[in-house]
């Protein structure tokens, strides 16, 4: 192999290695991009962060929306975890408050994290939480029972065909 060709080969090799590096960077960039995409579009039923209360938004008193509440406890988590009430009728724009109940039946201090999901997914961006126990990890002492609040409103921009929204919380164990 002559010197010129050897040089040419290494130059191309370096370019291809840069492509490999770029593809690796792309893979890691997909992580925040995926989060952003879910947040903006409400894919996965992902709800946004806390919003400021009231917003003085006009309450659409002519319209009713039923919000249903469910709970799931992941394997490996021994807490009891359920909503205090399973359904509620609200007007869009009206601020509402309910609570979830958690009990730690073990004799250890345990930490849990609830992860919300809204169904149908395209309603997620119209479901606004002012205050939620899912914003922080919850720590329960042995035998402790806790009433955890959720304050929310459904925005009046909610598409008219949506008459029911399900809000599901999945409780995960947090180790360490």
């Amino acid at each position: 192999m002559d010197e010129a060709l050897r040089h040419k080969n290494w130059r191309l090799t370096i370019k291809l290695l840069l492509m490999v590096a770029a593809a690796t960077g792309f893979a890691f960039a997909l992580v925040p991009f995926y989060d952003l995409l879910c947040e903006v579009t409400g894919l996965n039923g992902k709800t946004g962060a806390a919003v400021q209360g009231a917003q003085a938004s006009k309450v659409d008193a002519a319209r009713w929306v039923t919000v249903e509440f469910t709970s799931t406890v992941m394997p490996g988590m021994s807490w009891e975890f359920r909503p205090a009430q399973t359904r509620m009728r609200v007007h869009p724009g009206e601020t509402a408050r309910i609570s979830y109940l958690a009990r730690n039946p073990t004799n250890q201090v345990m930490t849990g994290q609830a992860v919300p999901s809204v169904s149908p997914g395209w309603a997620a961006q119209h479901f606004n939480k002012i205050e939620c126990f899912c914003f922080q990890r919850q720590v329960l002492k042995p035998g402790e029972v806790k009433e955890m609040p959720l304050v929310f409103f459904v925005s009046p921009e909610l598409p008219a065909e949506v008459q029911e929204i399900s809000l599901s919380y999945t409780l995960f164990p947090v180790s360490g």
């Binding site: 192999m1 492509m19 992580v31």
Partner: protein
């Protein structure tokens, strides 16, 4: 200059015995090493699935615990895809690409040697935890399925997953060295007059495969790395409790996994036109159309990954998009299939073993492709997802397509590699046994799947008994008949009627202008390509 001369002098006296194979940078030696390794892994991966089919012979659990069952099908898949098919395809490109484009060797011979010698260690790393469990150490090899996302975070927390992650890193490095070598060789080292649009289709297919590897292997390695740091270093990429998302793991892995399907298939698609043209005594049909179709499939393969995840709760708009984009792949794929049919249309066909395997490839791959047209349908997928329908479908593409193609290639170029003709009668027998038992194995699986039999489970409902019995017996016989190929290849290496340079009447291409077997160094003076 003196250094270059010394290199050449050294190269003409390869070390004897084992050191020749350990230190070789010769593309033909490495091609043979890669192909032998792929062949060995084909039988190891096959042995694992024989145990799985033995468990599925009868309803109930007879031989294996469910955990052991999970390990066996996972290892079968990882070994077949990453240990057998991909290295074998790399071996073919090592041996054939320099001969086909008139280059003296691959562009990066030393890298080529490293790339190969990573493979045995990767295979050992993958298998160590499997064997350690029999001495009571650890909980066995990974049992997550080949795509690693059957909850890798906490349901199975053994060391097997970590070993698999490092195996993926090693295999990724090996694949990338091979891919970079192909691109550099093909783009820089073609003989004068060998323009891109004169290259044989096998070279084109491998060039495109190499670009796909360069773009998606890093994504797979990155996903495996994230899994590793999630498991051991407190990150939360996929851990929902801490703001991660387990679905993201599926997205990342299938973003790699779908192009990977074409990485497995493209080399076979590239070599089939050579064989069809030779045994039909016609030039390659629709050369330009096939090159464009290969590029189109390469592009489409990057934007369809979520059809593997249609039941993961995607919004309807996304599901419909992935349905249509997946179905769009059938357009360039049909171009290929019709070009293959055009190649034999009114040709003066003869049915030697390579031609039989090539025609078997077209028929079986066609069935795999047609079943693949049903699966992305959003409404239908909800029923067929993770059923034996999927298992049947992808074995028609991987075995009926990929492996039939590679076997056609073995029989087609074996006389070129060894200088001897193989036993044609036994070759044809091997084809018919493989075809009959292959269909006997996978047709019942299709109907069991239609009836609702789920995959990845060690037991099945009683109504699937007959279908599983037939499928298991078919699988045992399919496995046994592959031993015949070992006999044929060994016999051919040791002797037989002398092969001519052209080997087959009607064979075209630069590799057939050389004697059989080709001398250790070829095309040191580039040939003229008209």
């Amino acid at each position: 200059m003196t250094e270059a001369i010394a290199d050449v002098a050294h190269d003409h006296r390869p070390p004897a015995g084992i050191m020749r194979w350990l230190t070789t940078t010769n593309h033909k030696d490495l091609g043979i090493l890669y192909m032998s390794f792929g062949g060995l892994m084909f039988f190891i991966g096959g042995a694992f699935i024989m145990a799985v089919r033995a468990e599925l012979l009868l309803p109930g659990l007879q031989l294996l615990s469910p955990g052991m069952y999970n390990q066996l099908f996972t290892l079968h898949a990882l070994i077949m895809v990453f240990g057998a098919i991909m290295p074998f395809a790399t071996g073919l490109n090592n041996y054939l690409i320099p001969l086909m484009i008139g280059a003296p060797d691959m562009a990066l011979p030393r890298v080529n040697n490293w790339g190969f010698w990573i493979l045995p260690f990767a295979a050992i790393l993958l298998l160590i935890p499997f064997f350690l469990q029999f001495s009571g150490t650890g909980s066995g090899a990974t049992g997550l399925g080949w795509m690693m996302h059957n909850t890798s975070l906490d349901l199975q927390s053994g060391i097997g997953i970590d070993f698999a992650i490092f195996t993926i890193h090693l295999l990724g490095i090996s694949s990338l060295t091979g891919a970079i070598n192909v691109v550099v060789t093909v783009l820089n080292m073609r003989a004068p007059g060998m323009t891109l649009m004169k290259m044989p289709l096998f070279v084109w297919a491998w060039l495109i495969t190499a670009f796909m590897l360069i773009l998606v292997i890093p994504v797979f390695s990155a996903a495996a790395t994230m899994l590793l740091t999630d498991r051991h270093f407190g990150t939360h990429f996929f851990d929902a409790a801490n703001g991660g998302d387990p679905i993201l793991l599926q997205h990342l892995i299938w973003f790699f996994g779908h192009p990977e399907v074409y990485i497995v298939l493209l080399p076979a698609w590239g070599l089939i036109p050579h064989i069809l043209a030779t045994f039909s005594r016609k030039p390659v049909f629709g050369y330009r159309a096939q090159v464009y179709a290969l590029w189109a499939i390469c592009f489409l393969s990057f934007i369809v990954w979520s059809h593997h995840m249609l039941t993961s709760g995607l919004p309807l708009a996304a599901e419909v998009y992935f349905m249509y984009s997946t179905m769009a792949i059938s357009v360039p794929t049909s171009v290929l299939v019709f070009c293959w049919l055009g190649a034999i249309w009114r040709g003066a066909m003869t049915f030697e073993t390579p031609m039989l395997f090539a025609l078997g490839f077209v028929a079986h791959f066609g069935m795999g492709a047609l079943t693949g047209m049903i699966l992305p349908d959003v409404a239908v997928n909800a029923q067929y997802h993770n059923s034996y329908v999927i298992v049947s479908h992808f074995h028609y593409t991987f075995f009926g397509g990929g492996i039939f193609g590679m076997m056609a290639a073995v029989y087609y170029w074996l006389p070129k590699f060894t200088g001897h003709m193989f036993d044609e009668k036994l070759g044809r027998l091997h084809f018919w046994l493989t075809t009959i038992f292959f269909n006997m194995t996978f047709i019942p699986q299709w109907f069991a799947g239609l009836d609702g039999m789920p995959r990845h489970i060690a037991d099945f409902a009683l109504r699937f008994s007959t279908m599983n019995l037939v499928s298991s017996v078919g699988a045992f016989l399919l496995g046994l008949s592959q031993l015949l190929m070992v006999y044929i290849v060994v016999k051919c290496v040791r002797g037989g009627p002398k092969a001519t340079g052209q080997v087959w009447e009607g064979a075209q291409g630069l590799e057939f202008t050389l004697p059989s077997p080709p001398p250790r160094h070829t095309f040191e003076t580039p040939p003229e390509v008209k």
